[in-house]
Amino acid sequence: MTKLLAAAAAVARPQIDARCAHCGERLPSAAPTTFCCVGCATAHDVIAGLGLARFYDRFRLDPNVRRLRPNGDIAVDYTAHCRVGANGETRLHLMIDGLHCAACVWLIESVLARDSRIVDGRVNLTTRRLSLAWRGPASDAGQFVASIGALGFRLVPYDPAVLARDGDAQERELLRALAVSGFAAANVMLLSVSVWAGHAEGMGTATRDLMHWLSALIALPAVAYAGRPFFRSALASLAAGRANMDVPISIGVALAAAISLFETTRSGSHAYFDSAITLVFFLLIGRYLDAKARGKARTAAEQLVGLASRAVTVVRSDGGFEARVPASVKPGETIFVAAGERIGVDGRIVDGISDVDQSLVTGEIGPVIAPAGTPVFAGTMNLSAPLRIEATASGDDTLLAEIVRLIEAAERSRGRFNVLADRVARRYAPVVHITAFSTFLGWWLLAAAPWPTALLNAVAVLIITCPCALALAVPVVQVAATGRLMRRGVLVKSGTALERLNDVDTIVFDKTGTLTLGRPTLTNVAKICADDLAAAAGLARASRHPLARALVAAAPIGAAAPCVEEIPGQGLRRITERGEERLGNRRFCGVADSRKPGAGPELWLSRPGRAPTRFAFADRLRPDAAETLALLRAAGYSIEILSGDRKEVVAAIARDLDVDNWNAEHDPAAKTRRLEALAREGRRTLMVGDGLNDAPALAAAHVSMSPSSAVDVSQNCADVVFQGEFLTPVVETLRLARRARRLVMQNLAIALTYNLAAVPLAILGHVTPLIAAVSMSSSSLVVIVNALRLQRGEER
C-alpha cells in the first residue's frame, strides 16, 4: 500500500510543477504534503485504503480536467427517491457530477462492489448516471452516497420516470421501428426482385401471387408497426387543422399497402409492398437521426439541483451547530460559514469580515471585501475568514433560484424554432395531395380507366413524391456536421443550433471567462525585482485568495513564509526581527500614492526600510481573442460586449479589441433585457458566454455558445459548447454552419429535382414498382453521399 501511495505521489509530483495527488491542483511548492486540502487527502486515503490506488494511473492525464474535491456535503434525505422493487431490493437513481472517464466508472463501481449489501451498482458513462440497488432499508442510501461522495464525486438523485418520459422513450421506439422496418424492407425487396425478374423471364402467375402474398404477410404488419410514429403525428396535425409532412407520408404508405393488397387478391401483376415498407424505413432513418441529435440537449435545471444540495451549518439558539439542507433554513436564522466554504443561502453578514468570491453569481473574477452588514448570495464562496450570516432567503427565494427561473422563462419565450424542413414541408404537402388526386380523377373520368387502375396510378404519384430524400436531407447533414465539430472539440447540443447559427448577424460576447481566460495573472513581473517577488510569494503562499494564488504562480519556487497572519479584506502580514512585512491592498500597506487606481486589481508589498512595490494583475485575454473578433468582423457580423464587470475594465478590453459597442455593469436580468431589445430591433444574436450570470442571457439569445471552462449551468443552456483556451471554435462553427446550410439547400434541390422528374412518369402511369424502388433509393443515397462531403473538404 505504501508503495502504491508513494508511486501515486511521485506521478503527481514532478520536480517543478507540484500538484495535489488527488485533484491535480497546483501546490505551493514547499508544501509539506502532496495534497492541496484535507478533503483531497481524505479522498486519497479512502481510495488507497480500498486498494484502488490504480485509479490514479488510469485517470486520463489531461491537465485541464480536475477531479472534484470532496466538499463535505451533508446527508440529504434520499429515502424519498428510493423505490422498493418486487424482489425486496431497493433502487436509487443518481446523477453524477465530476465523472470524466472510464477510470472514474471503475473506481465508483469497485467501491460499491465492496459493500456486500449492494446487489447492483452500475455507472452509465454516456448519461453520467448511477443506478444502485441493494438489499436493506432505504435509509442505507445515505451511507452509499457518502462513500462515493468521499471520493470527490457529487451525486444528485433523480426520478428516471420523469426523464424517460420525453427523450429516451421516443428514441427507443424509433429504433425498434427502424429495426422492424429494416428487416421487412430487406426481405420484401428480396421477393420483389424475383418478381421483377419474373416479369422479364415469364414467371408463372401462381408463383408471382405466392411472392405477393408472402410480401403482404411481411410488409403489412411491419408497416402497421413501424409506421406508427408517422400515423400518430399525421392524426395530431390533422386534428389541429394543419397538414404536416407526415400526412402525405401516411396517406401514401397506407394507400400503397391497401391497393397492393387489393391487386394481390385479384392476382394483379404489380404490387407496391416494397415501396411502402422501404419508404417507412428511409423516413425512419431521418427521424431517428433527428431524435438522437435532439436528445443530446439536456435541461439546465437538472444540474442546478446539485448546487443547491450543499450543506449549511445553522447556529442554533443555544449556540450549537447543526447541518441542514439549505432549503430548510428560515429567514432570520443564523448560519456559520467557514473559510473556503460555499455560502448556501442569501443573507447579510452579521459577524466577521472576509473576502467573498462572487464569480458564480456575477461572473467576474476578483473577490469582494465583505465586512459585517454586506449582503451575500447563495452560491458564492467565502475565501479568507469564518462568517456568521443571517439568512434573508433560502431555497426557492435565493438569487440562484431566481436565475434558474430566468433561464426557464427565456427558454420558453424562445419558443419553437421554425425549422427549414418543416417550412418546406408545409408548402410541399398540399401540392402532393392535389397532384395525386388530379391523377386519380384524370385517369378515372378523362381516360375512362377502371377505378383500380386510376387509384394505382395515383398511389404511384404519392410514392414517387413521398419525401424520403427530403426527410433525409436535413438530419444527415446535421449528423455529418456535428460529427465533424465534435472531433474539433465543439459539442453541438441542440438539433436546430446549426440552422439558427446561419441567421446570426450580431455576436454578443461576455467578457470574463469568454474573451478573457477568467483568472488573474501578474502583469508587471518584469518590473519587479526578484527579491521582492520571492518575499511577496512567501507571504502569498499562506492564502487562498485568487490574487495571492496568481502571484505564487508567477514566482519561482520557494518556501512559504512562517507565522503569516491573514487579515480578511486587507491582506497578509508577518512580524520579522526587522519589522512588519505586509502584502495587501494599498491602504493596508500604507501607500500614500495619489495616482489613480489602475484598471485591474493590484497588491502592494511593504517591507521595513524599503519602498513599497506594486503588483498589478489583469485577467488576460484569450490568446486569439483579437484575431477571432477581427475575423468575425470581416465576415460581416456586428460585435458587442456585454459584461457584469466595472465600466473602466470593460472599456479597456473593448478598446484593445477594437469593439465600439459595449455595455458594462449588467446583471443577469439586464443582460437578458439587452438581448431582448436586440431581438426587437430584428437582430439575430449569437451569445457567447460562461458563468451562471450569463445563463439566462444564453437562453434568451437566438443561439448561444459557451466555453467548456464555464460553470455547468451555462454549458447546459448553451446550444453549442467548445473546449480549449481558444476562441476560434466560434469562427469555425459559424463557417461550418454556413457550409451545412449550403449542403442542406443542395440536398433539398436534389430531392425535389428527382421528384419533379419522376412525377410526370407517375402521372402517365409508367411507374412500375421497379422504377419506384430505384428512384426512391437512388435519390436517398445521393442525398446521403452529398451530406458526407461535409466530413471532408477544406479545413478553413
Partner: protein, 52 residues
C-alpha cells in the same frame, strides 16, 4: 420451384432471428452506454452484465 418452399421460409426465419436478437439487445440495455462499454473492456475484474 419446390426449393423455394423451403428456401423462402428459411430466409425469412433467419431474418426474424436477427431481428429478435436486435430487439432483445435493445430491451436489455445493450445500447444504453456505448461510451462505457468501449472502456469497460479495459477493466480487469469487470462483469459483463448490462445494467438492469
Amino acid at each position: 420451384m419446390n426449393s423455394l418452399l423451403i428456401l423462402i421460409p428459411l430466409a425469412i426465419l433467419l431474418g426474424l432471428i436477427g431481428l429478435a436478437a436486435f430487439l432483445w439487445a435493445l430491451r436489455t440495455g445493450q445500447f444504453d452506454d456505448l461510451d462505457g462499454a468501449a472502456n469497460r473492456i479495459l477493466f480487469d475484474e469487470d462483469d459483463d452484465r448490462p445494467r438492469r
